[in-house]
């Protein structure tokens, strides 16, 4: 019996270590080749680098306009997510505590809208934003993300707030606590688990989004990181030292974040899907 258990354990580790390699090897290859010269990469992309060649990084950093693209991505992501949290928690609180007809209608529309794929609204969005002269405008991109993600956030907050006893709020109101203060000072701290789920899901979705900035931002100085990576790689597609270094630079911010917040991110995503 014990032997069987042991052999099962060995089998588990063999399979899962192989799987681990399959999942991470592509990233390892990119990192390894980013330290080689282009000639080295082409001759043998699976060998270890002969030395630590940082030319690819220097050139990629410059050509990708790295700091600027990073800044654009950061501005759009942080701006959208902060606004999203603010407007959705206010809306969801009103909906959860007042059983008005209009609230139910709006909530129903929001839930139904979650099935609409981006491709279906992409062309009219481009049309409307261009005719309002809102292309090449980072604030317009933030506005779009607020609209695109607000339904999900309201829905999640709504469900969570419903699970918190109303008596608590009544008591606070009897004590003379105003609505806004009640919401942000008393209720908001209690919403922390759901807030972190919403923030994590939206940060990942917005930081990595490609298609929307692709159709709304044309100026190089306004491009977000994924957009810049794409056009950079298109330009230097045969210089693998440069391409791989560029890829590492693009992936680095999220990977660093992941190293620190791994547990929260995984919990947040798992919670988000179940809700």
């Amino acid at each position: 019996m014990k032997e069987k258990k042991n052999s099962r354990k060995i089998l588990f580790y063999i399979i899962f270590v192989l799987l681990l390699l399959a999942f991470l090897y592509p990233f390892f290859l990119v990192v390894m080749n980013s330290f080689k010269t282009n000639k080295e990469v082409i001759l043998n992309p699976v060998s270890l680098p002969a030395g630590l060649n940082l030319d690819g990084y220097l050139k990629a950093y410059e050509n990708m306009n790295y700091l600027q693209s990073f800044g654009n991505s950061l501005f759009v992501t942080v701006g959208s997510v902060l606004m999203l949290v603010l407007i959705s928690v206010m809306c969801a609180h009103l909906f959860a505590r007042n059983n008005w007809k209009i609230n139910n209608i709006v909530l129903m529309l929001m839930v139904a809208s979650m099935i609409i794929p981006f491709q279906t609204i992409m062309i009219p969005v481009v049309k409307n934003f261009s005719s309002l002269d809102l292309t090449d405008n980072l604030f317009a991109v933030i506005f779009f993300y607020m609209g695109a993600h607000v339904a999900m956030a309201v829905f999640m907050y709504h469900g969570f707030i419903k699970g918190i006893p109303y008596e608590l709020e009544e008591a606070a109101m009897i004590d003379g606590c105003g609505h806004m203060r009640l919401l942000f000072q008393i209720l908001f701290p209690m919403l922390k688990p759901i807030t972190s789920t919403i923030v994590i899901l939206d940060v990942l979705a917005i930081w990595n989004d490609f298609l929307l900035p692709y159709v709304l931002l044309y100026k190089n100085s306004l491009k977000t990181l994924p957009l810049m990576t794409y056009s950079f790689v298109g330009q230097y597609s045969t210089d693998y030292s440069l391409v791989t270094a560029g890829l590492v630079l693009t992936m680095l911010p999220v990977v660093i974040l992941y190293l620190f917040l791994q547990k929260q991110i995984i919990e947040g995503v798992a919670q988000g899907a179940i809700k």
């Binding site: 809208s113 491709q119 279906t120 607020m146």
Partner: protein
Amino acid sequence: MKQNKKNKGAKNVLMFLLYAGPAVIVFTAVILIAFINGIQLTFTDWNGLTDEYQYIGFSNYADAFRDALFWESLLRTFKYAFGVVVITNVIAFLIAFGLTRGYKGQGLFRASFFTPNLIGGVVLGIVWKFVFSEVFVQLGKRGIGIFKNNWLSSPDTAFLALVVVAVWQMAGYLMLIYMAGIISVPKEVQEAALLDGAIGLKNIRHIVVPLIMPSVTICTFMSIKSAFMAYDVNLSLTNGGPFQSTELVAMRVFNKAFQAEQYGVGQTEALILFLIVAAISVTQVILTKRQEVEA
């Protein structure tokens, strides 16, 4: 009294505007209006540049129905979605099952399998393009038979490459959902089942799977939607090539509108895609919901 009621009504309207107003405005402006405009556009000959356009009846629909490339890409997307949904869910479930057996290192494995989900599809596509066209080709030259030719340069293997990358990208995400499902199966049920001799595959098939049907519903829903919407990896890995042989429907719609500049037809095709995805998703949710049982 009447005055009071009126006051309360006015106060409620103010409350609604103040609290729900911002959310309702952005939602309406970005999603609702665009969706309605989208339907409207399918009846026009808008050229993408001017603000003016004519209503032309159903001619975009007629064009869309005659557009062979669109239907080919749709059929290809069905194949792609079928492969991706089945393989990803099976792999994700098996990984989740393995990782909930109580072996050490679970956290490390879980975190690693999830990693592709942190990075955008376009970047992942570029990573894999490098792997397929440089690394694997080199391995092929050294005698690994399946990589003898560059996978991205012939239609069948390029299509396979798309499936491989999609599975690799999504499995870690679905794994998390399946793990949550498996962990929530009550211990007593598992113990009773094991005592009754339901072990191994039997245990998976008759005990675990029926009890985690809610996870199955979510996972199939999410993988179907993302397979039908796939664009980013398609763009950066194969760009639809070779010879448009791997163009999935989302890319077709994009190219029809923004490259061929037939915005009306492109939007009509986008709307057809929406109707198909909505129909499939609703059917799927109803079907898998029916399989859900209480523990």
